[in-house]
Amino acid sequence: MKSKLLNCGYRHHLFLALVLFVTSGTIQLRAHPEFQQFIVKHSGRPVNCAFCHANADGPEGAGLGQIGHLTAAEQAELVRARTTFEPGAKLNSPILNAFGNHIINRLGKRKFLELRLAPAQLAETLPKDSDLDGDGIPDVKEFLAGTHPLISSDGNPWLLFRANFRRNLTPIALTLAATVAGLWGLGHLLHGFAVAARLKDDEAEELNP
């Protein structure tokens, strides 16, 4: 029984290794630098593989989120992601980040591969209202602006400021009211001290003219 199980696990790993070996020859293609090049050219901002991938240096290598670092379960998920071409499969490729997986899940791999020839169309094809990091800037706009769709502190400064200002209007209004009231009160207090000091001064002058 034990040897049968081991044998089964062995065969499973052998299959995965075979699939990874066959697909590894096309890894450069799978990193899809066309999109990165488009973002840099369009936005003028430097971006790296971490825009869509789990690792900033891309899928190749033995680092966290790279092919050489995957567990057996993650390898199986990677194979499923690489062999599923239609949208809506709820994939969670371990070498992609949430934005990368969002693209594949929404468009499907076939469409995504087609878009390599016209990366700008990715912005038109993705859902306009999706905002994965919740920073108030839709992912599509972040894609075009070269800001990270998963980092809420990264975005067009003006758009971020506008979104955050609107979101925090209540604390801002309360803090403003507290500051104005504090200064008003402090002003009266200091004026009171000044008047008291002047009176004391006048009294002293009257006593010792």
């Binding site: 800001t147 200002f165 801002i172 004026h191 000044a194």
Partner: protein
């Protein structure tokens, strides 16, 4: 026993600079007046710098509760502060914005003090301690920049320390080794690493705060004992009471500064001004991202450094440093109109290099 003449002279000099007999309620509060004239807005800048410094102390202490000064945990602890600590992102962002605003207000304060000839006798020590405070503030900026241990922090620090070492090429004989040794002392090991982070952390949270407390104490004591300088050549026709009129206006400026800082802290993450790869954890084996440069307040020296030979910059820095320290004696007989022109020219240079420095660099280097 009669003291030697040199000690007597020093005593008289200090007594004139620190008239302790004025250290009483009547002189410091009741009788103190502030001139009103077209440059009177400059009187608020020192207080503004002090306000930003106090914000830095408070927010810095809050960050200390969570920050871990180790190369393995520094970046993660900063991320933890930003993402998991209640109001952590706000406190960190206010710390980042206040550092820039403090340096900006200190720089403008120095220029207005120059334009108003606020260094004239007996305020020489006020000026010298002010220049020291400027240097300490820059050192705060430089050491604080490394602490989050991200790509731009470590790589910019490396460039800064490399520049120190390169000075050795222009020094004669044994002196040529000194900058390299200085770099090693600051760095603590062969490359920027744990020893550097520990040293910068110690400098940022203990040594520089002690230094600034000493210099600030002298600076503020001198300012309070002498009051505001006249500021303009012709004697101001109007004066206002320091207490409570000027103090209240000063506090109102602080209130406005606080609101600006609060809104900036809530609304505009400091990182959004840079590309995100610069804020990834530093990886010694990974590639260096594009766009590594120092903080904006070093652009006035950084871009010329990229364009001109190092010796020209070092010479310029030496002359500037010595000139700033010696200003009360060098410009002793210069009228305020000339000083205003110098201050405006220096301010224009700082603005142009800060805003257009990169474009100027590309214009010459292609």
């Amino acid at each position: 026993m009669k003291l030697p003449e040199s000690i007597q002279r020093a005593e008289a000099y200090l007594a004139e600079r620190f008239p302790v007999e004025k250290m009483n309620y009547t002189s410091l509060v009741l009788k103190k007046e502030v001139p009103i004239h077209r440059l009177a807005w400059g009187y608020y800048l020192g207080g503004l710098a002090l306000f930003f410094f106090m914000v830095q102390v408070v927010t810095g202490l809050m960050l200390l509760f969570y920050y871990q000064p180790t190369v393995s945990d520094a970046h993660a602890s900063v991320e933890y502060i930003t993402e998991h600590v209640p109001a952590g992102a706000l406190v960190r962002n206010i710390h980042a914005w206040a550092s820039s605003l403090m340096i900006a207000s200190v720089m403008v304060h120095l220029l207005t003090a120059l334009a108003m000839k606020a260094f004239g006798k007996p305020r020489e020590i006020t000026w010298v301690t002010g220049v020291l405070l400027l240097g300490i503030t820059f050192a705060f900026g430089f050491t604080g920049y490394l602490l989050p241990w991200h790509q731009i922090a470590v790589n910019a620090t490396k460039i800064g320390l490399q520049t120190v070492e390169e000075i050795g090429k222009y020094l004669p004989g044994q002196m040529a080794a000194w900058p390299g040794q200085l770099k090693e002392i600051i760095q603590g090991e062969a490359s920027v690493g744990q020893a550097t982070l520990s040293r910068f952390f110690a400098l940022h949270v203990i040594i520089l705060p002690l230094a600034i407390a000493a210099a600030l104490g002298l600076h503020l004591a001198s300012v309070q004992l002498h009051g505001m300088s006249q500021g303009v050549d012709e004697k101001p026709r109007r004066q206002e009471k320091f207490f409570p009129n000027f103090l209240l206006k000063d506090l109102s400026v602080w209130g406005v500064a606080f609101m600006v800082l609060f809104i900036l802290g809530l609304g505009l993450p400091f990182e959004s001004l840079f590309a995100y790869p610069l804020f990834e954890p530093f990886n010694p084996k990974g590639s260096t991202p594009d766009g590594i440069k120092p903080e904006w307040y070093f652009f006035w020296v950084y871009y010329p450094l990229e364009l001109l030979p190092l010796w020209v910059i070092m010479l310029g820095q030496g002359v500037l440093g010595a000139g700033l320290m010696a200003t009360p004696w060098v410009f002793k007989n210069t009228n305020r109109r000339t000083l205003q022109l110098i201050a405006v020219a220096a301010g224009a240079y700082l603005v142009v290099m800060t805003v257009f420095g990169e474009r100027i660099y590309h214009l010459f280097k292609g």
